[in-house]
Symmetry: C2
Subunit: 408 residues, 2 copies
């Protein structure tokens, strides 16, 4: 499918993240109204709750609850039909534009909310460069990559209650840390506050307890993707993570982009995961390109400090989801799966400050002579991402957060 | 408060788990009816949804949703008022018995359901004997107790989607394991399937993102306790848990008892946590007895294989909850906090088969000459617990599960 033109003029700019080929799903409000489902098109948001109420979407009440979960639970056939309907309604030359025009709202005057009710949040560890870098710093070069890493999509359960939408300010966490020369820990604001550049896969349809899934089934269950910033307090993490993994170091906040880009929109940019270095067990094999060629960047205070690509991920979201359900773990509509930090092979492609500054030893430079090891109060961190088509881009918008001082 | 007598005769037996002093909260159904909130009294269940509809409870619609979450969210003053009302209604000599008698259902003909909608599930690691035993087996005696253990209530996030009520059959999980002499892992049924005897604390009232809580506030937030069996696949766990903690080894099932015993019912049995071996940081100090003198047991196929006591826990639930929120993590109505396996100092008081059999080296004997290292298909494991009052007991009922063969 080539580049599609819309009667919404701003959707036809090669610079927009939201051409007709994209149609990502969010939740928005305008002054004095309740949050409702919307679809981004150029610099506008189509109020699809209103479109549904007008009988234009064929979704029978799925869009009226201020979150995408009901449509997600309805499954891939419904997703495909809805996307076809939206594409028809917004195509250049479509009939009925007058009716729809009243349901368009300028994005820059809307407030964006979490697009889904997050059921549970799981975070993976699927970039080999990241796992190697962090392993080297935490455990030394001999033990950098854990022996299971090339066999298992390693993951851990995170905290869903603190998943927030882009634009939400993030309070610097307090916590226990132990200084290298101290006998006992102390409690106070994290001094090694970091980001993790990740993609989040959103589970649309559920699986049952006790019933594993194949990678093909897992792929069908995935509704779409968001940008995800897994904020991390490295000093808390280093002290707490043995033996049961990260806990409070990651519990205070996870930011996601407001727009869910669907698998359908990303399909032209699907690529294989990197070549296997060890043969995978059969339950993890996939006979489809499960990864995406997505250009990703990290900005600190408006200055790009890293560029990488989703292609760096060794495991696809379908492989992660399959592993997640392999024990019989029930997966739910609204589960959010972080990919793990996406780092490329060089410092200018690392997905965390921990790696970019190599544990704080090599500060990064910002314009105006400023330097950073970790995040300071007032800093704004932004993730961005897009797939590049021929004359258009499929963008995720931005995932941003500004750090507030810790509570004393 | 001494022993209270009820006009429900079976509640006055010294053997019942459910005297008038207890009044635990569950969700039940009888043939052809939807699950609804009920309170155990002797061998009966009082249908409090019906009692509320008849205007007897003063709870204004909080009990009509087939789960206790709405009442939990209403807070301690509402909990106390409701308990006073229930106590009055069911006391010996109370007026209005005829009306209430129609709302009593025999427990043995009712089906019991999950009493709450579980928001998120967190599991802690608060028994020193357990942490030392497992640490010795997994990492050797030199590294048994992690250096942070005496300072932090160590915990990790678990999976809420597979928390099930007692009586639910448990499917043996498949997963990756690596034999000690193998180069690569294999995938198949767990061969080291285990239980973990724990208590579960249920969070009633929420806390806000970015806002830590004190131990006194945490104590007020706790609605009550259940028995909790954190089923564990030790062979999966050993291979997967480094560096990010347990994942699929614990994701397939967690069983809880059907009855939530309130803090009010347990108050006469409150005890201090064990003496501190290292001074705690101030945010974890508590000036109230945060633990309980609860007798706990594990049965395998009807045979008691271990007896221990909740007093073994080094950290109270209030301390765990305070630590959980210390980074600014928002806690929610319906969060379930597992205490961690409760092991005493001797093998007959260990809370897991891993410990009782010391990693499978010392089988335990069952009547009839059978032996077990880990759980076999068809085995039924049961937890039980109660506090012993003067002539009465505050019981939790039983938390049971039978193992089904793995899916091939």
């Amino acid at each position: 499918m080539g580049y599609l033109k819309s009667w919404v003029e701003s959707a036809n700019s090669p610079e927009t993240d939201f051409p007709l080929n994209n149609l990502p799903y969010g939740v928005f409000s305008t002054s004095g109204t309740a949050p409702r489902c919307g679809v981004a098109i150029g610099d506008m948001i189509l109020d699809v709750q209103a479109a549904e109420a007008a009988g234009l979407t064929g979704t029978g009440g799925l869009l009226g609850q201020g979150a995408w979960n009901p449509l997600m639970a309805a499954g891939p056939a419904t997703w495909a039909a809805f996307r076809r309907t939206l594409t028809d309604l917004l195509s250049e030359g479509a009939a009925g534009r007058e009716t729809l025009a009243d349901m368009l709202h300028p994005m820059d005057s809307a407030t964006l909310h979490l697009p889904i009710t997050v059921a549970e949040y799981t975070d993976f560890y699927a970039s080999k460069s990241h796992a190697t870098n962090v392993g080297t710093m935490f455990r030394g070069p001999e033990n950098a990559l854990p022996p299971n890493w090339l066999h298992i999509p390693i993951g851990y359960n995170g905290r869903a209650s603190t998943v927030v939408v882009s634009g939400t300010d993030i309070r610097r966490p307090n916590g226990q840390t132990r200084a290298p020369d101290a006998d006992v820990p102390s409690f106070g604001p994290s001094r090694r506050l970091d980001i993790e550049l990740e993609m989040g896969a959103i589970v649309g349809t559920p699986s049952k307890m006790g019933e594993p899934i194949t990678t093909a089934q897992a792929q069908d269950m995935i509704f779409g993707y968001v940008l995800l910033n897994d904020w991390s307090a490295r000093d808390l993490q280093a002290w707490e993570y043995q033996p049961l993994g990260p806990f409070q170091a990651k519990a205070f906040a996870t930011s996601i982009s407001p727009w869910i880009v669907t698998r359908a929109a990303l399909a032209p940019f699907a690529v294989d995961t990197p070549p296997r270095e060890k043969e995978l067990l059969p339950y993890l094999s996939e006979d489809f390109p499960g990864n995406y060629d997505l250009h990703l960047s990290v900005e600190m205070n408006g200055h790009v400090v890293s560029r990488t690509n989703m292609r760096e991920l060794y495991y696809s979201a379908a492989q992660q989801l399959t592993h997640h359900a392999s024990s019989g773990c029930a997966m739910r509509t609204g589960d959010l799966l972080g990919s793990g930090t996406i780092s490329g092979p060089t410092p200018d492609s690392y997905g965390s400050l921990l790696e970019m500054t190599w544990g704080g030893k090599n500060p990064i430079s910002l314009p105006g002579g400023e330097q950073r090891t970790f995040i300071e109060d007032g800093d704004t961190l932004t993730l961005a991402g897009h797939a590049q088509g021929d004359g258009y881009r499929i963008g995720f918008g931005r995932c941003t957060g500004t750090i507030l001082p810790a509570r004393i």
